[in-house]
């Protein structure tokens, strides 16, 4: 049992007849002779077997058609078993020249497929190199030479001479001989080979012979049975089977056709699957705003639709679907473009998309137009929003983000702010887009003929901006803004926001300049800026005037000696500071050259207006001073009860502080201020203005000077009036004191007290004036004395009749008076004094002759020496 051979390995495990196999296993015999049987798939292959070792046998398979065991039979072990099997099969193609020891179904290999002859022709039977056979032997000649022959080795009428002439007409004889030898050898070996092949496959050949003999026997038997017609029967049978086979074949063919069709359809579907789902995916992409995806898909689909295979109704249908989607997408994109101009990159992307979608219009132009419209509309809307808003609901309507900040701002400012923001945000995009459009940087081909229209649009945008701002900020009438009327015109408080607005507009302007736009557009903005600046200049100057005019409120009446000008309050200095500060501000904000702006001062009109304004501002100081005077009156009335005790404080070298010390004193201070302003402050202001680069302001200064002169005069008149009134007023009273009668009075005993009182009053005035300004003493006194003289003249002219004593008394009085004020007597007052003298009968003789008068006069003089001194010294110091 255990000695039985066992096959455990087969290499290969399958193959056609004649396959060389290696059989492995155990106890496969001790030698070749020990091996007495080898069946592969039931076919005895012992003849072809070669024993190698007890574990290995080589063999060649024979006609094994099925799968089967490998059975090894040894003398020592008997019939073996196998754990492996061999599968034999017939090789499909056995060529006619391929040696095969088994039956081959030639109908398959030989029948329908003609063997290509070329494969055999290439082989030269003589094996002679064909090199150098360039020259072909002409075929016509060969045809002539061998009319019946052929050069084809396989044809029946093969003529060797033809072959030789055709292929080897240039070959040497020796070579031909060698070729012949080779051919001989080859033929010999083939016959020999055939013999050996037969020997090798003897059993097959014998089988085949047996089979042929059996066949012949059967045929003979059949013939004897059925006669010679059996061939016809067979033929019929063959015919029937052929038809049947044909039917079968047709059926199979039809099935195959259907399968092919289905497969093709599936392939087609697979290939164009994408197309069928395209409408859906496009829709989805569009919804998700993945336009890129959608457009890619679309272009892919388009390419596919252009292929001839897709020219089918079903594809057309889908193409239609896709086209509608694409149309929708176009619409969506267009709306996106139009709705609210997106960022420029986005815009570009959308334009790109639109171009790939091949829209029938110029999307860039549409985009530009939309942008324009949007810009215009949003600016207009902004205007409407703010202009129609009244201040009450303004706060609520504002954007909440800025609310805190804007609450305090007037509507106009917010509007300007918003408008500027709008403009700076959207205009550059607009501009860039148009630049890109005409510069060909967009994926769109620019339509250059639209350039003019573009320019118009640009300009109108800028113009709109200008118009809106103008109508908002500038007083109506300064610009023709019929279309846009700001409902609530700038209130007073607006002026202070002008600067603020100007700042915004300037920023916008700078942004605008950075775009490098054409000149015309810059000009528009420049004009706008210019106008606003002019306006704000005016406003500022006006404000300055108001401020200056309000200066009087700041008067503290604390005064300080100021050189020749006596005591001066800080008011003029304040005035100067205010003016200069304001000028600086004006210069900084309005006059400084800013980014190609038109300089304001180059304009003559502006210069004039500025001069005028400045003049107004300067002269406003005069108004202020004037106001002080009138105000002072009230104050002085209030202080009137104390007035008597309010003697003029002596100078103690320092500040004299406090409220208006007295009406008169403050008037004097005002006078001083006037002259100080005229002499010192105005030239200083002038110089400062020149230094600041203002145009010639001499006119303005002159105007101010005149105004101040007026005030000075007024003040002076006021003052003197105030001074001589008490002095003059008391004259009549004290002249008639004690019912004095010039007719009945006794002989004069001295100068009557009304004169001394008058003189004392005058001295008081001198003292007061001197305390404030010594300069003024003469002017004031001349006036005072003139008034006094006038009064005296009036009084004396009223006296009906003088007695002797009365005349003497009058003469004495007048002489004393004349004596005392001689220093101040000028022109009119001298005349008046003389007139008074002439009113007194015989006064001249008396003055010259009466000793008594002389005596009394001397007496008086010595009595009032100090007073004289006062009058004279104050006068002489001036002289």
């Amino acid at each position: 049992m255990s000695g039985a051979p066992l096959v455990t390995g087969m290499s290969p495990k399958e193959g056609p007849p004649g396959t060389k196999v290696t059989i492995r296993g155990e106890r496969l015999g001790k030698s070749q002779s020990d091996l007495i049987g080898l069946d592969i798939c039931g076919v005895n292959c012992l003849l072809t077997s070669e024993w190698v070792s007890p574990n290995k046998i080589l063999a060649r398979t024979l006609l094994c058609k099925t799968k089967g065991d490998i059975v090894v039979i040894t003398r020592s072990g008997g019939v073996g078993a196998s754990t492996v099997q061999f599968r034999g099969y017939l090789e499909a193609s056995v060529g006619p020249t391929k040696e095969s020891p088994v039956w081959v179904d030639e109908t398959v290999s030989v029948g329908p497929r003609p063997l290509s002859m070329t494969a055999y022709q290439q082989e030269d039977p003589l094996q002679i190199s064909v090199e150098g056979n360039d020259k072909k032997f002409p075929v016509e000649e060969l045809l002539e030479l061998f009319p019946e022959g052929s050069g084809n080795l396989r044809s029946e009428n093969f003529v060797p001479a033809w072959f030789l002439l055709e292929n080897h007409h240039a070959t040497s004889f020796d070579d031909l001989k060698l070729g012949l030898n080779f051919l001989g050898r080859k033929v010999g070996s083939q016959t020999e080979g055939k013999l050996s092949f037969l020997k090798e496959n003897i059993s097959s050949v014998i089988d085949q012979l047996d089979a042929l003999i059996a066949l012949k026997e059967k045929c003979d038997k059949y013939r004897t049975k059925h006669g010679s017609s059996f061939v016809a029967q067979i033929d019929d049978a063959i015919g029937v089977s052929e038809r049947e086979a044909g039917k079968l074949f047709q059926g199979v063919l039809a099935k195959k056709d259907r399968a092919d069709m289905t497969r093709n359809a599936l392939n087609g579907y697979q290939r164009f699957k994408f197309l069928f789902s395209l409408p859906g995916t496009m829709e989805k992409s569009i919804q998700k705003e993945e336009f890129d995806q959608a457009i890619n898909d679309y272009s892919r689909a388009k390419a596919l639709f252009e292929q001839p295979e897709t020219d089918k109704p079903i594809f057309r249908k889908f193409q239609k679907e896709v086209e509608t989607r694409a149309y929708k997408l176009r619409e969506t994109l267009r709306n996106k473009l139009v709705e609210k101009p997106p960022k420029i990159e986005e815009q570009r992307a959308i334009l790109d998309y639109l171009m790939t979608l091949q829209c029938d219009y110029d999307p860039a132009w549409v985009c530009l137009a939309c942008h324009f419209e949007f810009l215009t509309n949003s600016m207009k809307n902004c205007f409407q929003q703010f202009s129609s808003m009244d201040s009450q609901n303004a706060n609520t309507a504002k954007t909440p983000s800025k609310q805190d900040h804007q609450n305090a701002l007037p509507n106009q400012v917010v509007f300007v702010e918003n408008l500027c923001e709008l403009f700076s945000t959207y205009f550059p995009d607009f501009w860039h887009l148009s630049q890109d459009y005409f510069g060909g940087k967009l994926p769109v081909k620019p339509n250059l003929s639209k350039q003019a229209e573009m320019k118009k649009m640009m300009i109108s945008t800028v113009q709109l901006f200008g118009t809106l701002v103008t109508s908002c900020l500038l007083p109506s009438g300064s610009a023709n803004t019929d279309e846009f009327e700001w409902q609530e015109k700038a209130s007073e408080s607006m002026s202070e926001w002008l600067q603020h607005c100007l700042g915004f507009i300037k920023d916008t302007y700078t942004d605008f300049l950075s775009l490098d736009p054409p000149k015309e557009m810059i000009e528009i903005l420049r004009n706008l800026l210019f106008q606003i600046r002019c306006y704000s200049l005016e406003i500022m100057l006006h404000q300055l005037s108001t401020e200056v005019a309000d200066l009087y409120k700041q008067e503290t009446w604390s005064s300080e000696p100021m050189g020749d000008h006596g005591f001066v309050t800080p008011l003029p200095a304040k005035f100067e500071t205010v003016i200069i500060n304001a000028s600086k501000v004006i210069k900084e904000t309005l006059l400084q050259k800013y980014n190609e702006e038109r300089p304001l001062l180059n304009n003559e009109e502006v210069k004039n207006r500025m001069r005028e304004g400045m003049g107004n501002a300067l002269s406003a100081f005069a108004d202020s001073l004037e106001l002080l005077i009138s105000q002072n009156r009230g104050v002085s009335q209030f202080h009137s009860s104390q007035k008597s005790s309010m003697t003029l404080p002596l100078k103690d070298g320092g500040l004299r502080s406090g409220l208006p010390t007295s009406q008169t004193a403050s008037l004097l201070l005002i006078l001083n201020n006037c002259s100080y302003t005229k002499v010192v402050i105005l030239p200083q202001i002038y110089k400062a203005l020149v230094k600041l680069g203002y145009p010639d302001m001499s006119e303005a200064v002159e105007k101010a000077r005149i105004a101040i002169n007026g005030v000075e005069n007024l003040t002076f008149a006021k003052y003197t009036e105030m001074k001589y009134e008490p002095v003059v007023g008391q004259i009549e009273q004290s002249m008639n004191a004690g019912r004095f009668d010039w007719e009945k009075c006794g002989e004069p005993v001295g100068v009557r007290p009304y004169i001394t009182k008058t003189i004392l009053g005058m001295i008081e005035v001198i003292a007061e004036v001197t305390a404030v300004s010594e300069k003024l003493v003469t002017t004031v006194m001349t006036q005072v004395i003139e008034s006094v003289c006038e009064e005296l003249t009036r009084l004396f002219s009223c006296i009906a009749k003088f007695s002797e004593n009365g005349a003497m008394q009058a003469t004495l009085d007048m002489a004393a008076f004349q004596d005392a004020v001689s220093g101040f007597l000028v022109g009119n007052s001298i005349n008046l004094v003389n007139e008074t003298f002439s009113l007194i009968p015989r006064s001249k003789e008396m003055l010259r002759s009466s000793r008594r008068i002389q005596h009394l006069l001397d007496e008086h003089r010595s009595k009032t020496k100090m007073q004289y001194q006062c009058l004279i010294s104050s006068n002489t110091t001036k002289l």
Partner: protein, 199 residues
């Protein structure tokens, strides 16, 4: 004869791998303790023998396939019948290592089973000096696939038995799991019956 021998369980092993990596050498070494020096490309060889696996007699059926690409088309059929696979590459040839990926994929596709018994075998470990595929790379790949990696030498018989036996164990485990309660008792019955008849 055959009815007398018990019918031990049969484990079908398939050798896969590029041409010339030593599939046949491994098989022949395992089957017949023989090392074939000369190289003759295999078409498809079949081997089957009894072995004792952990005390149990089993049959191993080895299908040695062609590594050459020419035969790639017919592999599907072979793979279908396989229960376990030895995927062989030569450590001296990185291309053969790369090819294991394809073999693995094809096997998984045909078997439709991620956990089919499978051993990655790096053959020709005796040619250490000509190594091109690092052990690490191979181990990484094996880990990635969740299969064992063994280096063998058909020449020195290193690990040859191990790979076949390891694979058979896996196949057995797998069959036990799959067969579950149905097969196991059946087999027992048969065996008992047979034993009885012998007695």
């Amino acid at each position: 004869m055959s009815p007398k021998t018990t019918t031990p369980s049969l484990h079908k092993v398939i050798m896969v791998g590029s041409g010339g990596v030593g599939k046949s050498a491994l098989t022949l070494q395992f089957m017949y303790d023989e090392f074939v020096e000369d190289y003759e490309p295999t078409k498809a060889d079949s081997y089957r023998k009894k072995v004792v696996l952990d005390g149990e007699e089993v049959q191993i059926d080895i299908l040695d396939t062609a590594g050459q690409e020419d035969y790639a088309a017919i592999r599907d059929n072979y793979f279908r019948s396989g229960e376990g696979f030895l995927c062989v590459f030569s450590i001296t040839e990185s291309d053969s290592f790369q090819a294991t990926q394809e073999f693995r994929e094809q096997i998984l596709r045909v078997k439709g089973d991620q956990s089919v018994p499978f051993v990655l075998v790096g053959n020709k470990s005796d040619l250490e000096d000509r190594r091109k595929v690092s052990k690490e790379d191979a181990e990484n790949r094996a880990a990635e696939w969740g299969v064992p990696y063994v280096e063998t030498s058909a020449k020195t018989r290193t690990n040859v038995d191990k790979v076949f036996f390891d694979l058979m164990r896996e196949i057995r485990v797998r069959k036990d799991v799959e067969g579950g309660d149905k097969d196991a008792p059946n087999k027992h019955k048969k065996r008992k019956k047979l034993k009885c008849s012998i007695l």
